[in-house]
């Protein structure tokens, strides 16, 4: 067991998987220079000089070329510098990558990982801070993975790169420096398998990505109030492990769902609905949602810090559902 950052765990996973399978290559803007824009691909250019392609600033071609290479038997790992820029490649993600297997009657395989750094980090305003996971949950043919810990980042990446179908791998930038325990050998984590990050009796808190550590923090604060929360991390939004989420909610009778994407039609909506449909008669209060405000991310720090749910808001929401509203 080692203590590692999320960034280093992911970097190690990329190294190990590239050593294992020579079909894997990296493609993206500045992925070799300085170890990549966010230093996630550090050392890859030195270790695998012929398997890393720095591209022009051309997101549609980055994703489209990755799709073509995947169709031709390679396993591309494409990086979009910030998830906000994937908007320039939506045709390639939604109409090409996601549809190929189906449209070809199962002939085509697009084993592509699209790495998407996302979320609020250094106050970069509305075009460099978004959380867009729900868009892709809506598209059949895509897997959507959101790791929350260094261990999960490594285990889920190992799975993502072995998948025969496209995986959108959302990396919350704020998590890159998060430290956590990482096993000496991290086995691939199956997609669609939620994990209970903290067991508890009173309230189920479903937390996505960076909300997991906030929920765990809230859990400690709530102990003082005599409230014992269970924190469940879906880890993968598509496929979504509704069974595990519903089992927890059925047992506690209360659920709070929190994520960093916008409230309107966000991933919390799908999760809350899935729990409600499954567990309506077992719930003592309606499922509560905590999500980002429905505003573009403002630049100014005091404003930006209010957009995504805080530990305090999780504490408050849990207390409210415990009190029956």
């Amino acid at each position: 067991m080692r203590i590692m950052t999320f960034r280093d765990a992911l970097n190690e996973a990329i190294h190990e998987e590239m050593a294992r399978d020579d079909r894997i290559f990296l493609i993206g803007e500045d992925v070799a220079t300085h170890g990549g824009n966010l230093a996630v691909t550090k050392g890859i250019a030195e270790a695998f000089p012929n398997r890393i392609r720095e591209t022009p600033i051309a997101e549609a071609a980055i994703v489209g070329v990755a799709v073509g290479a995947a169709l031709a038997g390679m396993r591309p790992v494409a990086e979009i510098m910030y998830i906000d820029f994937v908007t320039c490649a939506m045709d390639e993600v939604v109409n090409q990558a996601a549809k190929m297997r189906y449209m070809t009657g199962g002939q085509a395989s697009v084993p592509m990982v699209l790495r998407l750094p996302c979320g609020l980090s250094r106050y970069t305003a509305a075009q460099h801070s978004q959380a867009l996971e729900s868009w892709f949950m809506h598209v059949p043919g895509l897997h959507v993975v959101v790791p929350s810990t260094p261990q999960d980042a490594k285990g889920l990446f190992r799975t993502a790169v072995r998948e025969p179908d496209p995986v959108l791998f959302l990396e919350y930038k704020r998590l890159y420096s998060l430290e956590g325990e990482v096993s000496d050998i991290v086995e691939p984590i199956p997609l669609g398998l939620a994990e209970v990050k903290r067991a508890g009796e009173d309230v189920t808190v479903v937390a996505v990505g960076p909300m997991v550590s906030k929920a765990l923090e809230a859990g400690i604060l709530l102990e003082d109030e005599g409230i014992d929360i269970e924190v469940v991390d879906p880890r993968c939004l598509s496929p979504l492990d509704v069974d595990t989420l519903a089992a927890s909610a059925r047992r506690t009778g209360r659920a709070v769902v929190c994520a960093e994407d916008a409230l309107m039609a966000g991933c919390t909506a799908e999760i809350a609905c899935a729990i409600s449909e499954r567990c309506f008669s077992d719930l003592s209060v309606p499922v509560r949602r905590l999500a980002a405000l429905d505003v573009p991310m403002p630049f100014s720090a005091p404003l930006a810090d209010k957009v995504v749910p805080s530990v305090e808001q999780i504490v408050e929401a849990v207390k409210e559902v415990v009190n029956g509203h």
């Binding site: 071609a61 799709v67 045709d91 070809t104 009657g105 002939q107 069974d243």
Partner: protein
Amino acid sequence: MEPTPDKLKDMYRTMWRVRLFEEEANRQAAFGNVQGAFHMYCGEEAVAAGFCAHLRTDDYVVGTHRSHGHYIAKGGSIDRMMAELFGRAAGVCKGKGGSMHVADFSVGMLGANGIVGGGFAPATGAALASQLRGEDRVSVCFFGDGATQRGTFHEAVNMGAIWDLPVIYVCENNQYQQWIPQSRMTKVTSVRDMAPSYGIPGESVDGQDVLAVSRVAADAIERARSGGGPTLIECVTYRFHGHSLGDLQEYRDKEEVEHWVKDRDPIQLLRTYLMERQQLSQDEDAAIQSDAMAEIQSAVAFADASPFPVDADIGKDIFVEPERPQS
């Protein structure tokens, strides 16, 4: 390199197979057997035939929404394409793709594409795969004149150029972007003139003259295969029919269409060429046409005999089988 008479006859045969397939599919659409959108390739056959004659089975082709000809020329199954157009389970894509998504990985056909300009980057990516593996497979990207106005053209051709990828970008300039003449939508009407912007060779060729197409194709494919990088080639051609089924074609003169159909038919031009040189006899010509017709009729029978997909097929092929357990 000049094609041998046998090779030319192969191209002649291919063009007839494409022509008769399209005409029969059009007839079947009128009967209601072919469903959905359907774009005929008639008039443009020399492009697919001239290029694919120089490709190996393991080379890659990426098409457009008008790709029946590419698939036939690449060695695809006429039976299974007809069944696909009929929406049948024996279709090459099990009835899930249809006319605009014909793909057959067994012959390197990575797919027609329903998105105009959607094929540039995937074709470039297939070429990258070939280069990364140290193979000599090439990738041919067919596209229409309208697609050059997509941003994907610029992004992908530039990427193919900087990495010297084994990809040939082949514009089928049929002069209309659905219903609008090309000249109204770009001031650069010769697609060849866009090549210098990317630092790659550009060619423009009479797309009705399969010999000319074949010469340019052979050179570009050889250059790509030997590591010389991409070429951008414009084949000036013409769509004998409308953009798609039911197109009234009020946007172009009947005389213009008649001129191309009467005087510029690539099949008739090659037929005349071969006959003038005694490389094709009347009997051979008749046999080529009747064989092609028999093949198409047999494809209709094959398609007609195939069942439709069953309801249980709806959820299959979204992800690799076996399906993940649905929660």
